[in-house]
């Protein structure tokens, strides 16, 4: 059972929700939390555990074999991403631009561009209490989040049974990385705040999940500030508002320090409980 936590706008509280929800649910059943915001993975800042496993993550890019190359320049012609250039009698590959389509490699008449593994990031698997936490981090020079998100989801699919609750902390926005992170989700939770930015970006996020045909609910964070437009929008659109987390300076301060909320703040625990029950009901009546 995969639950993706997403939002149009950044900074609405996805990671806060993902980490608190995962740890809360881990109190009664084994849970996986995966941080798919690979450009800026933050969930780990709130969790303490033992490093169980780490592995570099690779993407395949062509490597130039000078000895066999006939310098015909086909590679540059077939690449749609400007990732390979023929400069005089050198062929240069730009790994960050390469999408790994293999066209240059497979269409090269002299087989002078064998595909090779290049590290683009790292995956870490950390265990704490009842929780398995998987985080992937993109190396700073890398521009493409999607391949790493894809491989991280593959890792989770391989290591854990399908029925286990898996929470995916997704990147913000509505572009490719979010699509990749939410594609396989059984349920999407959209986190927003009751402000004009929050409403505007929620609408974009709703459009995105509707296009993907995903079941989704909304969680309203920082409730009490701003106005009621988000609530009215959800009502008008028949979107379930699964929980409200109140706005409080105390909550902001606790998060600032990298601490979880649900143990000390009853409203947050209540919100986590409501969401957990929703997830279990979608997961065939739940299990433990």
């Amino acid at each position: 059972m995969k639950v993706a936590i997403a939002s149009g706008k950044g900074g609405t509280g996805k990671t806060t929700l993902a980490t608190n929800l995962a740890m809360y649910m881990a109190g009664t059943e084994p849970v996986v939390l995966a941080d798919l915001d690979v450009e800026e993975p933050n969930s780990g800042l709130f969790l303490k555990g033992e490093l169980y496993h780490r592995e570099p993550k690779y993407k395949m890019i062509p490597g130039w074999q000078e000895e066999t190359c006939s310098l015909n320049g086909d590679c540059q012609t077939v690449c749609n991403f400007n990732a390979i250039l023929k400069m005089g009698n050198h062929v240069m590959v730009f790994p960050e631009l390469c999408h790994g389509c293999y066209a240059c490699s497979e269409l090269c008449p002299t087989a002078s561009l064998p595909m090779q593994a290049k590290q683009m990031g790292e995956l870490k698997h950390i265990k704490t209490d009842n929780l398995d936490f998987v985080e992937s981090r993109l190396m700073i020079s890398e521009e493409q989040a999607v391949p790493l998100i894809h491989q991280t989801i593959d890792y989770v699919d391989e290591k854990f049974p399908a029925a286990m609750v898996k929470i995916f902390d997704s990147p913000p926005g509505t572009s490719c990385p979010v699509i990749e992170a939410t594609r396989g989700a059984d349920l999407v939770i959209l986190v927003t705040e009751p402000t004009p930015f929050g409403l505007h970006d929620l609408k974009l996020a709703v459009e995105t999940v509707r296009q993907l045909g995903k079941e989704f609910v909304v969680v309203l964070n920082r409730h009490g500030i701003g106005d009621d437009q988000v609530e009215r929008y959800c009502e008008a659109e028949n979107i379930l508002l699964a929980a409200r987390i109140p706005n409080s300076r105390h909550i902001a301060e606790t998060c600032a320090a990298g601490k979880l909320l649900y143990q000390d703040i009853p409203e947050v625990a209540a919100a986590m409980d409501a969401i957990a029950r929703l997830i279990r009901s979608r997961n065939g009546g739940g299990h433990s």
Partner: protein, 115 residues
């Protein structure tokens, strides 16, 4: 010496373009023959990715020994320029082409570091 400038226009009074990869024009000046060539680079706009190396490739076609620009090329473009042995000078981003040339001749521009 043949010099190439990243510019926003096609004459000595034009502003320099501080960018490399998506520079609007090249202004090429041959000191010996005093010939000027310009090249419109604006089609680079169509490239979603890889503008830097592509522009560097185009530039190499002019056979200039020196590149004068603003912020400097990004890493990929710099690697391409290295293969041509082009010397790169930066810091001319908010000058006119004429001012940039004078600054270069007076040694007032910074040499771009090795990649």
């Amino acid at each position: 010496m043949k010099l190439i400038f990243t510019t926003q226009g096609t004459d000595w009074e034009s502003s320099m373009d501080p960018r490399f990869g998506r520079t609007q024009f090249f202004f090429v000046y041959d000191e010996e023959s005093e010939e000027i060539q310009t090249h419109d680079n604006t089609t680079i706009e169509n490239e979603a990715h890889g503008a830097g190396p592509k522009t560097a490739q185009k530039l190499s076609g002019f056979g200039a020994q020196v590149l004068i620009t603003g912020n400097g090329p990004g890493r990929n473009a710099a690697t391409v320029l290295q293969t041509t042995g082009t010397k790169i000078y930066v810091g001319a981003g908010d000058m006119t082409v004429q001012e940039a040339y004078n600054a270069y001749k007076n040694g007032n521009l910074t040499k771009f570091g090795e990649v």
